[in-house]
C-alpha cells in the first residue's frame, strides 16, 4: 500500500452521537478516511465483506449481534479499535488481537493514539492469515451464551440453550437445533473452550451433547455405548466420553 494514501476505516456503532463523535474527532485527519458507518453488526459484516476496510471502530454492545459476535462472522477481520462504555471486555478484546480499547467518553488525543497504533500495524502488514487463526482459536475467558453462524448472506444467532448437539465435520462444526442444522467454521476444541462444561459434554471425538437432551445410555457392543437423545438421535460414545458422562451425570 502507498504510504501517502489514507487508510480506509468503517465505524460500527449503534448510537448516532457516538458515530458523530468519531467522525468529528477525525475530521481533517489525512491518515484515515471513513468509508462507511454501520448502525449494527449485520451491516458491519456486510460492509467489511464489500469494502474490505483496513480498520474498524467497533462498539461492543449493539442490538442482536454484539461486536465480538460480529467479528466471528468476518472471514478476514480488519484491524479493530474497540470503543465501549464497558470496562470488563478489555481482556477479551486483546485476546481478539485488538489494536486498542477505548472507554467512553474518551478524548481526541486518545483516539489519535489508537489510530497511530493501527496505522503502524497496517503499514507493517501483519499477515492476515495468522490473524484469523488467533481470532478463532484464542482462549475464551467467559462462557458463550449464543453462537452466530453465517450461511451465504444470512446471519443466524443461536442461543446455546437451543443447541441439541454438535458434530465435527472436517474444518467445520454442524450445530443441531430443534429447528434445523447450521454449519460454523470452527473446531470442536473451540466449542469445548467456549461452552459451559457443566451443560455440554464431549461424548466422542466428533460429538458434543447438551446435558438436558440426554435420554439414556445403551450398550452397543462390548465396551461400546450409544447415547439416545430426546429427538431420537443416537450418538456413539467413546471411552473418555463415557467417563465424562459418568462424572457430569454422576451415575
Amino acid at each position: 500500500m502507498n504510504i501517502m494514501e489514507p487508510i480506509k476505516a468503517v465505524i460500527i456503532e449503534d448510537e448516532e452521537l457516538a458515530r458523530e463523535l468519531i467522525k468529528n474527532y477525525l475530521k481533517g485527519n489525512d491518515m484515515v478516511e471513513i468509508i462507511r458507518e454501520c448502525e449494527n453488526g449485520f451491516d458491519g459484516v456486510k460492509a467489511i465483506a464489500e469494502l474490505k476496510p483496513d480498520l474498524i471502530f467497533l462498539d461492543i454492545q449493539m442490538p442482536k449481534l454484539n461486536g465480538f459476535e460480529m467479528l466471528e462472522l468476518v472471514d478476514d477481520p480488519p484491524e479493530t479499535i474497540f470503543i465501549t462504555a464497558h470496562n470488563d471486555f478489555a481482556i477479551k478484546a486483546f485476546e481478539r488481537n485488538a489494536v486498542d480499547y477505548l472507554l467512553k467518553p474518551y478524548s481526541k488525543d486518545r483516539l489519535l493514539m489508537a489510530l497511530n497504533k493501527a496505522v503502524e500495524r497496517i503499514r507493517n502488514q501483519v499477515p492476515a492469515a495468522g490473524k484469523v487463526k488467533t481470532l478463532i482459536q484464542a482462549p475464551i475467558t467467559e462462557k458463550m451464551e449464543r453462537v452466530v453462524v453465517k450461511s451465504g448472506t444470512k446471519i443466524k444467532v443461536i442461543p446455546v440453550e437451543k443447541i441439541i448437539y454438535l458434530e465435527a465435520q472436517d474444518d467445520y462444526v454442524m450445530i443441531y437445533t430443534a429447528e434445523g442444522k447450521h454449519l460454523k467454521q470452527a473446531t470442536m476444541k473451540y466449542f469445548e473452550d467456549c461452552l459451559d462444561p457443566s451443560v455440554f459434554i464431549r461424548v466422542h471425538r466428533s460429538y458434543m451433547v447438551h446435558v438436558d437432551q440426554v435420554v439414556q445410555l445403551e450398550p452397543y457392543s462390548r465396551d461400546n455405548f450409544v447415547l439416545k437423545l430426546k429427538n431420537g438421535v443416537a450418538l456413539r460414545v467413546s471411552r473418555s466420553g463415557l467417563k465424562s458422562l459418568k462424572e457430569k451425570l454422576s451415575f
Binding site: 448510537e15 452521537l17 449494527n40 442490538p63 442461543p159
Partner: protein, 349 residues
C-alpha cells in the same frame, strides 16, 4: 446455657485462684485465732471451701433460669432465697457431718464446730450473694458485648444495602454512554449538550436523594422518568418511542420513590438495546381511590432474549414492595410472545 466459669478458661482460672486465696485465709484464721493444729486447719479449709466452690459452680442454674428482666422482683427474690437456703443448708450439713466424723476424738474442735455453725451459715449466705452477683455481672457483660457486635453488623448491612441500591439506581453504562453523547454534542450543538448535562444532573440528584425509603407522588416520579427518558432519547433517537398514558387524576397518588425507573431501564435494555428498528415502551397509570396501578409494556425479541425468569431488578422491586407494604402480590410480570409486561399495584394508605 453452659456455665461461663467452666466455658471460659480465664474465668475458671480466676475462680480457682480466688478460692485458693480464701482457703489460705481460712487456714490462717483457724491457726492464729483459734489455735488449732496445721493439719486440722488445712483439712477443714480445703474440705469446706472446695465444697463451697463446687456448689458455687452449680449456682449458675438458678441464675440462668431466673432473669430479673423477665419476672417480678418478688418472684426473683423468693427464688434466690429458696436457692440460697437450699445450697447453704446443704453445704453446712455436709461439711459439718464430714468434719464431725473426721475429728470425732477432738473434743475442743467439736465444740468449736457446733458453736460456729451460725457463723458458717452466715458466711455461706454471703458467698451465695457474691457468687450470684458475679454471675449476673458476667451475663450482663456478655449481653453488652453481643449487642455491640450486633449493632456493628447491622450498620455494615445497612451501609451495604444503601450502596447496592445506589449502584442499581445509576447504571454505570448509562452514565458513561450519556457522557459520551454529551461529549459528541459539545462539538455539534453546545445548547443540546448543556440541556443534556442539566437533565443528567437532575436525574442524578433525584437518584442520590435517598427517596427509596419514602413515599413520593406519582408527579415527582414521572418527572424523573421523563428526564431519564429524554436522556435516553438523545442516545437512541428514533429507536426509542415512549407512549405515556397517565391519567392526570393520578398525579397525587403515592408510591415508593425510584421504583419505576429500574423497570423502564429494563424495558430499554431488553427492548431498545436489542432491536434495530423502533421499540415502543408503553407506560400506563390508572388509579382508583384506594390504589394506583402502573403498567409498563415493551416489545422484545424472544429469539435474542431467551433468559428464563425475572432479573435481579424485578426481584429487588418485589422485595422493596414486600418491605413497604407487607404484601408480595403487588407485582406481576407477564411475558407472552414478544411482549413483556410488568404491572404494579400501589395501595394508597
Amino acid at each position: 446455657m453452659f456455665n461461663p466459669l467452666l466455658k471460659v478458661r480465664s474465668y475458671f482460672i480466676a475462680y480457682s485462684g480466688i478460692w485458693c486465696m480464701i482457703a489460705i485465709i481460712h487456714v490462717l484464721i483457724l491457726i492464729l485465732f483459734q489455735g488449732f493444729s496445721i493439719g486440722l486447719a488445712i483439712t477443714e479449709s480445703v474440705l469446706s471451701n472446695f465444697l463451697l466452690a463446687l456448689i458455687g459452680l452449680g449456682l449458675w442454674f438458678p441464675v440462668f433460669f431466673s432473669k430479673l428482666e423477665k419476672e417480678s422482683i418478688v418472684n426473683f427474690i423468693l427464688k434466690h432465697l429458696f436457692a440460697c437456703l437450699l445450697s447453704v443448708g446443704l453445704w453446712v450439713l455436709i461439711h459439718y457431718a464430714i468434719l464431725n466424723a473426721l475429728f470425732a476424738s477432738n473434743k475442743e474442735y467439736k465444740e468449736f464446730l457446733v458453736s460456729s455453725l451460725p457463723w458458717r451459715a452466715g458466711i455461706g449466705g454471703l458467698f451465695y450473694g457474691a457468687i450470684i452477683l458475679v454471675y449476673y455481672l458476667i451475663i450482663n457483660y456478655q449481653n453488652f458485648r453481643e449487642k455491640l457486635t450486633r449493632e456493628a453488623e447491622l450498620k455494615a448491612l445497612i451501609r451495604e444495602s444503601e450502596l447496592n441500591s445506589l449502584k442499581s439506581q445509576i447504571n454505570p453504562h448509562f452514565l458513561f454512554n450519556s457522557l459520551n453523547s454529551i461529549s459528541s454534542l459539545t462539538m455539534i450543538s453546545p445548547e443540546k449538550a448543556q440541556d443534556m448535562i442539566i437533565k443528567l444532573s437532575e436525574f442524578l440528584r433525584y437518584s442520590l436523594s435517598n427517596k427509596e425509603e419514602k413515599l413520593t407522588s406519582l408527579r415527582d416520579e414521572i418527572a424523573n422518568l421523563t428526564r431519564y427518558l429524554d436522556i435516553e432519547k438523545v442516545r437512541f433517537g428514533k429507536r426509542l418511542n415512549v407512549i405515556n398514558n397517565t391519567n392526570d387524576k393520578c398525579f397525587d397518588h403515592k408510591l415508593p420513590g425510584l421504583i419505576l425507573q429500574p423497570l423502564i431501564e429494563n424495558a430499554i435494555k431488553y427492548g431498545v438495546h436489542e432491536s434495530i428498528g423502533q421499540t415502543d415502551i408503553e407506560f400506563t397509570c390508572t388509579c382508583a381511590e384506594r390504589n394506583l396501578r402502573v403498567n409498563i409494556r415493551n416489545r422484545f425479541d424472544p429469539e435474542f432474549h431467551y433468559k428464563k425468569g425475572a432479573g435481579i431488578g424485578i426481584q429487588n422491586i418485589r422485595s422493596r414492595l414486600k418491605i413497604m407494604y407487607g404484601r408480595d402480590d403487588l407485582l406481576s410480570v407477564v411475558q407472552s410472545g414478544a411482549i413483556f409486561e410488568v404491572t404494579i399495584l400501589f395501595p394508597q394508605i
